[in-house]
């Protein structure tokens, strides 16, 4: 069972992956990185190291699919799910081939995953939402396991934009979160748990 995290570059996908894993009680992360050539590279790091190595303020820090496995407390033996962090999807044709490969990997994976958490950067929303966010919504809105995570509620004016987001993306659940400060994770966790 896999759950994919998608969104624009710098919307907070990797922060969410790491801090959500920490919220679920993991002390270290065994991260599997899927290279576009097809092979998997595994690395284990502590939460603190993952934060310092994988989160930056630059776009497209994540260029390959990177995933962690967690066990949800469900059923007799629990349910293992794989949470996949992806390369951010940007509008237009990206000049860097490696980024394009990463974006292609992301879209290929979206087609295969049953569950998608779409991270929306509230601080980047002005009057309208971005084309990529709209396209992702249009593509995924009919999937049962699709939810929008309105990220960066810790920023100024962010909370005021939640209503706008809920109106624009009216047919899916919207969870306000702060991936950086681990806020709103309880609702996301409940959503994931209910789905599996």
């Amino acid at each position: 069972m896999a759950c994919i995290i998608v969104g624009r570059p710098n919307s907070g996908k990797t922060s969410f992956l790491i801090n959500f894993a920490a919220y679920l009680g993991l002390n270290s992360l065994k991260i599997s990185v899927r290279r576009p050539q097809g092979y998997l590279a595994n690395q284990t790091m502590t939460i603190a190291r993952a934060r310092s190595n994988l989160i930056t303020c630059h776009s497209h820090t994540t260029r390959n699919l990177q995933s962690i496995k967690i066990v949800l407390p469900k059923g007799k033996r629990g349910k293992e799910i794989e949470i996949i962090d992806t390369c951010g999807l940007a509008e237009g044709i990206h000049p860097d081939r490696e980024v394009r490969m990463g974006m292609a990997q992301t879209i290929e994976k979206i087609l295969l995953c049953k569950m998608a958490l779409h991270i929306l950067d509230l601080s980047a929303i002005e009057k309208t939402t971005s084309t990529i966010d709209n396209e992702l919504y249009q593509y995924l809105k009919n999937s049962v396991g699709y939810a929008l995570l309105a990220n960066k509620i810790d920023k100024e004016d962010a909370l005021a934009k939640i209503t706008h987001v809920r109106n624009t993306f009216s047919s899916v659940p919207v969870f306000p979160i702060s991936a950086l400060y681990s806020r709103g994770f309880k609702e996301v966790y409940r959503f994931v748990l209910a789905y599996y």
């Binding site: 069972m1 059923g75 999807l89 940007a90 509008e91 237009g92 044709i93 990206h94 081939r97 394009r100 490969m101 974006m103 292609a104 992301t106 879209i107 290929e108 087609l111 295969l112 049953k114 084309t131 990529i132 396209e135 992702l136 249009q138 593509y139 009919n142 999937s143």
Partner: protein
């Protein structure tokens, strides 16, 4: 279509927004069509081969997968193809690998492009049977809806037919029979349970047995296979057995089998769990432990008198 869009994105002919737009327009919520190469075949059969023992099960499943694939390919080029009913019954004691096999089967069918999602939904009587008239059909349909595109694994399926005529279990079976015929290409239903009880279950609805063309027996593991399961668990958990430990484990397993307990994977796992704890307790009194000491499970870590698992 999907492949062209993704290639276009990779080669710099399309942006991600345009790619998503095209996929939505094409109702891209469908599986990626791909041609199965011999390498792919090896890859998905590898997981099946990795299972300890179960030689007959593997043989039947490989034949079945080959049949399904060939029928699919015949259909693709316009030849006559038989309708494929993929439902099965897995008969065997607990811990003989039924659920694991079902999970791998789902993945195989997904990779072969025969199922959309290939997920495994495990369910049992409580999730299928309702509390009042009409409730059962709703509940059953809901579970089947959730399992569409994947494998629905009904554990202890015989419990559906165990009650009297007022029991709603029969209603669940009747609903399922109808649904499994209508949606036979989108779902694989696997009924699992003990061999004797399952025979009675399959007779509970006249249409049931005929809709389950494949019945697979999962035999209990032999001592040799149980030792092989133990060795893979130990490798996975980074422990090793001393020769004395190996002998003791073999004796403990033999003692369990002689007592009439079915040889199953869980029995091995629980004996080893006990041994891990016993080793930890033994080592907790020493200081300056070497790597060798931390790795090794000795004969004294296995205790014969314990029944670690109610089998």
């Amino acid at each position: 279509m999907v492949k062209e869009v993704i290639d276009g994105l990779r080669n710099g002919e399309l942006g991600a927004d345009r790619a998503l737009n095209m996929l939505t327009a094409n109702d891209g919520n469908q599986k990626i069509e791909k041609k199965i190469t011999p390498t792919d075949k090896r890859k998905y059969l590898k997981k099946l081969n990795k299972l300890t023992g179960l030689h007959t099960v593997k043989k039947i499943l490989k034949e079945y997968l080959a049949y399904v694939q060939i029928q699919h390919e015949r259909k693709n080029i316009g030849l006559k193809a038989n309708n494929i009913t993929m439902h099965m019954a897995f008969l065997g004691n607990p811990g003989t690998g039924k659920t694991t096999t079902a999970r791998i089967l789902g993945q195989c069918l997904l990779q072969m492009g025969l199922l959309n999602k290939g997920h495994l939904l495990e369910t049992s009587r409580s999730e299928l049977v309702g509390e009042y008239i009409g409730h059962t059909a709703q509940k059953t349909k809901k579970v089947m809806q959730k399992a569409l595109g994947g494998v629905l694994f009904i554990d202890e399926a015989y419990s559906l037919s165990r009650g009297d005529e007022r029991d709603f279990g029969q209603e669940a079976i009747d609903t399922m029979v109808k649904e499994m015929e209508d949606k036979r290409e989108d779902i694989v239903i696997i009924f699992a349970g003990y061999p004797e009880e399952m025979k009675h279950f399959l007779k509970s609805n006249p249409g049931l047995a005929s809709r389950i063309p494949i019945k697979i027996n999962f035999p209990d593991y032999t001592i040799f296979e149980l030792m092989s399961i133990a060795s893979s668990i130990l490798q996975d958990r980074e422990y090793i057995l001393t020769s004395e430990g190996k002998e003791k484990l073999r004796n403990v397993l033999k003692a369990h089998l002689n007592k009439g307990n079915s040889g199953n994977g869980r029995l091995v796992r629980n004996i080893l769990e006990n041994a891990f704890r016993a080793q930890a307790f033994r080592l907790s009194f020493s200081s300056n432990l070497s790597r060798k000491e931390l790795l090794e499970l000795q004969g004294c870590d296995f205790r014969e008198e314990e029944t670690p698992w109610p089998v």
